[in-house]
Symmetry: C2
Subunit: 356 residues, 2 copies
């Protein structure tokens, strides 16, 4: 199956004939880790029946659990980005910020982080040291304490350099309730910054592609920006637009909330070098991973105030409204510059595997 199905679908808006999920004797595909439709199939048909916890089934960026009367957000994320060092950042900072952001978009205050390293024998200790320092610095910036860690090493060829899994605990202040169930008819869709930077930065150093592009990963903790936006107006739901990009997040939210979301293609901020790189690679920036960009669903009365507030923050300077929520069947539409409206579908698999 092509990894470009969904891009193709934008010019030929025909619903996918989705492959039958996980027949016996089947094998795990790269797309099962994409965050797209195959990932969702794997979760729904294999993990949920086995694990069965309702909080897991809610599919939030982080679980919300009660511990002796305190609401905690709890999340985990694996990082397998290749290469481990890329313009603007590395796997270490990414692993910290990725988990911090999963907590932040729940409205939680990131508190404690764990990190598990799986290393390939022969991985340079200098590189490991740089990655660890990068993680330490990212923890300091994000105000989270790395309190638990583990290291495993597998033999040469048993892993691809370094994998990092981080898990995070955050505290949820009273009265903070964000999620797709709070999305309302008429909500304005805001993105907090230009899309596609992270994915393009990583791809620019990918073995076999390697091109020069004047763009770095956007990896950053979203906690402060989320605070600023929530203080300024009625933010109903937030997601960080990582694997699968803004388009995948919007599809997940439309499905969870049972609403129609319409996006104005020309309003979506994309930096020129990112747009050029995407055109060269034949991919769509709306599906490219970001690591410091969130999508917010905001009540229409205060959406201007939320955008204005976000723009005062260093990583929100290009925040902008890109669309609107309406009651209707669960779907995401894209209005193009020509005034044509097309479905913006969920990808079956990845455009860019191993981007985070």
């Amino acid at each position: 199956m092509s990894e470009f199905d969904a891009s193709a679908s934008r010019s030929a808006p025909i619903a996918f004939a989705c492959p039958a999920p996980l027949p016996p004797g089947d094998q795990v595909l790269l797309g099962h880790g994409s965050g797209g439709r195959l990932s969702a199939d794997l979760v729904r048909s294999l993990f949920h029946p086995a694990f069965g916890d309702p909080e897991l089934a809610r599919l939030g960026d982080a679980a919300v659990v009660d511990v002796e009367g305190t609401r905690l957000a709890f999340t985990t994320d694996g990082f397998v980005v290749q290469p481990a060092f890329f313009p603007g950042s590395d796997i270490g900072a990414l692993a910290v910020n990725g988990t911090v952001n999963d907590l932040a978009v729940m409205g939680a205050r990131p508190a404690f982080l764990s990190a598990a390293f799986i290393l390939e024998e022969g991985f340079p200790t200098d590189d490991l040291g740089r990655i660890a320092e990068s993680m330490g610095a990212a923890c300091t910036t994000a105000g989270i304490r790395l309190v638990a860690a583990d290291t495993k090493v597998v033999e040469r060829g048993g892993a691809d350099g370094i994998f990092i899994v981080t898990s995070g605990i955050g505290t949820l202040p009273e009265g903070v309730h964000l999620g797709p169930e709070h999305i309302e008819d008429g909500d304005v869709v805001i993105v907090s910054g230009p899309v596609g930077d992270h994915g393009v930065a990583v791809m620019s150093r990918r073995a076999g592609i390697d091109f020069e592009v004047d763009v770095g990963s956007d990896t950053a903790p979203l906690t402060e920006l989320v605070d600023v936006m929530r203080t300024a107006g009625s933010v109903h739901c937030l997601r960080d637009a990582t694997r699968g990009g803004v388009a995948t997040v919007l599809n997940e939210l439309a499905a969870s909330a049972g609403v129609t979301i319409t996006i104005d293609d020309e309003a979506v901020p994309v930096q020129d070098p990112v747009r050029a790189a995407c055109e060269t690679l034949g991919i769509d920036p709306l599906y490219v991973a970001n690591e410091g960009v969130c999508v917010a669903m905001v009540g229409s009365d205060s959406s201007d105030a939320v955008v204005a507030a976000a723009r005062e923050h260093p990583i929100g300077r290009q925040a902008v409204a890109i669309g609107r929520v309406e009651s209707g069947p669960a779907a995401v539409h894209l209005r193009t510059g020509l005034g044509v409206t097309r479905p913006l579908l969920m990808l079956t698999a990845d455009q860019l595997p191993r981007i985070c």
Copy 2:
């Protein structure tokens, strides 16, 4: 460097000329993931300076953190065991019980679990399904809720089948304070069951070794057993004897507490097939990983009661006192059947890599 250094040292008790830790240009070795001396070097010389958190530096089985007045235990562990299925269990149950036990030996009540999967493209989905079901069943048995998960897939050759990282949160009841700082002169050392079962069970199916042995992994949640033991007497410190086995745990505790621990070799329970397998492989069962055995340091007044109580529990039936704590330099001694006392040193690396 030989992976059998420490075994050799038992017949030639000369202190290690430890390799200089992590010179520039060095590479990660299998031993850096062993839980032995090389692991400790990596943590001390690379991770701690980069991360710097005092709770991390305490090197407990789990971090103990305060969240709005509630004490939580928080831990993470990576599982890279090869093969993924072995006599008595599989990587899934191991990944659940391993993290549950890191919480249990702190005296915490396991509450919430996360799981991150790193899969190799082509991994059979049937195997993944069996592993997920095994995890679900282990969670039910251990009374922990799996509330957060993530899946990443890397291309063929980018990982060795399946790796799982679990992280766990437990609540620490008031008044529960276990740790090496509570170990006292005169404490009795208890092991809760026969040692070496897990490591030998895994090795018996290892490619290139493959032998028949009538022993399965001992993987099991220790929570109930720990409760029973703590209720029966003055348990000062607990550790589950995983990577590096009982000998490594004792060395870590002796170093942390600054005490001398003397073990009676003949008192250590080892099942006959495990002993036979270890003799065949030339390894020492005291250094072989266990996944359902804990080491307890117990006040001498109540040690008989603790052993008796443990023996009432299904996984503690062979609990036994194996040694004693004395004030003195940080060291572990082994008294052999001939009455000779020898140092029981920490391994530099693994006898058996990728055992958990």
